[in-house]
Amino acid sequence: MLIFNLEKDSKVQIWAGLLMVVLTMISLGCDQSSREPLPVIGTIDIPYTFTDQQNRQIGQELFQGNIYVADFFFTSCPTICPIMKSQMLRIYEKFKDNDQFLLLSHSIDPEHDTVEVLNDYAARLAIEADSWHLVTGAKEEIYDTAFRYGLAAMEDKNAPGGFIHSGSFTLVDRQGKIRGYYKGTEEEAVDRLIKDIGRLIDEP
């Protein structure tokens, strides 16, 4: 009798276990968003070379085979850049030890943001130049680059700091394809970006 009961109990347990597995699979299946690959929005083609905070020449070839996030800012920006940079720091801290991931911030105020200024800025943020490149270059080339990343940047004497630019981050995969845009001023958007970077890292 005792043996029979034990068998019955374990059968119930097996069925309950199976039910749990099926339910988990169904609930996971509902989350289509994390199963489908990120969309391909465009292809990055930057014919210019910029200079980073360590005075190194930075061209597109450095980023080939790497996943990276690009944005546009200027060091004296009084409005959205500080928030963008504090969010970018979250991404940096999460992936700085991953050798397939880079960050690329372009200054849209190259006249003021010289290599020396960018170097000081990087030092104050305590970031490593090998994982986060802050670059400066010819103004028209930087603005054209912003356009190629699908982001807006322009001079405007009436704007605080003298420039208007997008607060978005562009996510680029190993093949140089744009895979997403994220508001760099919103914590939730950057949470999503951090997840999506993880998904690109897992892509073959």
Binding site: S76, P78, I80, P82, K85, S86, R124, L125
Partner: protein, 135 residues
């Protein structure tokens, strides 16, 4: 209900309103409007700053005995070195010359209430007096 349980009721009746009163007693933190509009993007909503790039306001001599220097510092901005305690920092802060006396008073009161170390009570008169001493 057991008599034991009944005895707990008066205690609960006293404790509950007391807790409700306490939670209603919010500290006066001032009006964050000017701070959030002009300062929070760099110095942070909680005055925490951003690493060595934007100084934290939570432990600043300017919110203690040097508070009188603050109106000029805010309205003229900072370009170059400032000395706080035994540290010299190279700072670049934009000028907020367009703030009215009312806004300046509201802002500095907010800073003082949140991260200040006591000190004198502010007024619009005092702020405009300090502003007249700007270099």
């Amino acid at each position: 209900m057991s008599p034991d349980r009944l005895q707990r009721w008066p205690v609960m009746l006293v404790l509950l309103p007391a807790l409700m009163l306490l939670s209603g007693c919010k500290e006066n933190r001032g009006d964050p409007a000017v701070y959030n509009r002009h300062c929070a993007s760099c110095h942070g909503r909680e005055g925490q700053g951003l690493r060595a790039l934007y100084p934290a306001l939570t432990d600043s001599a300017y919110l203690g005995h040097r508070i009188g220097e603050l109106p000029c510092l805010i309205s003229s901005g900072v370009r170059g070195k400032i000395v706080t305690g035994n540290r010299t920092k190279n700072i670049r802060m934009p000028a907020f010359a367009d703030l009215s006396i009312q806004e300046m008073n509201s802002l500095i009161s907010y800073l003082q209430l949140n991260w200040g170390k006591g000190g004198e009570t502010l007024s619009e008169q005092k702020i405009s007096q300090w502003l007249r001493t700007c270099p």
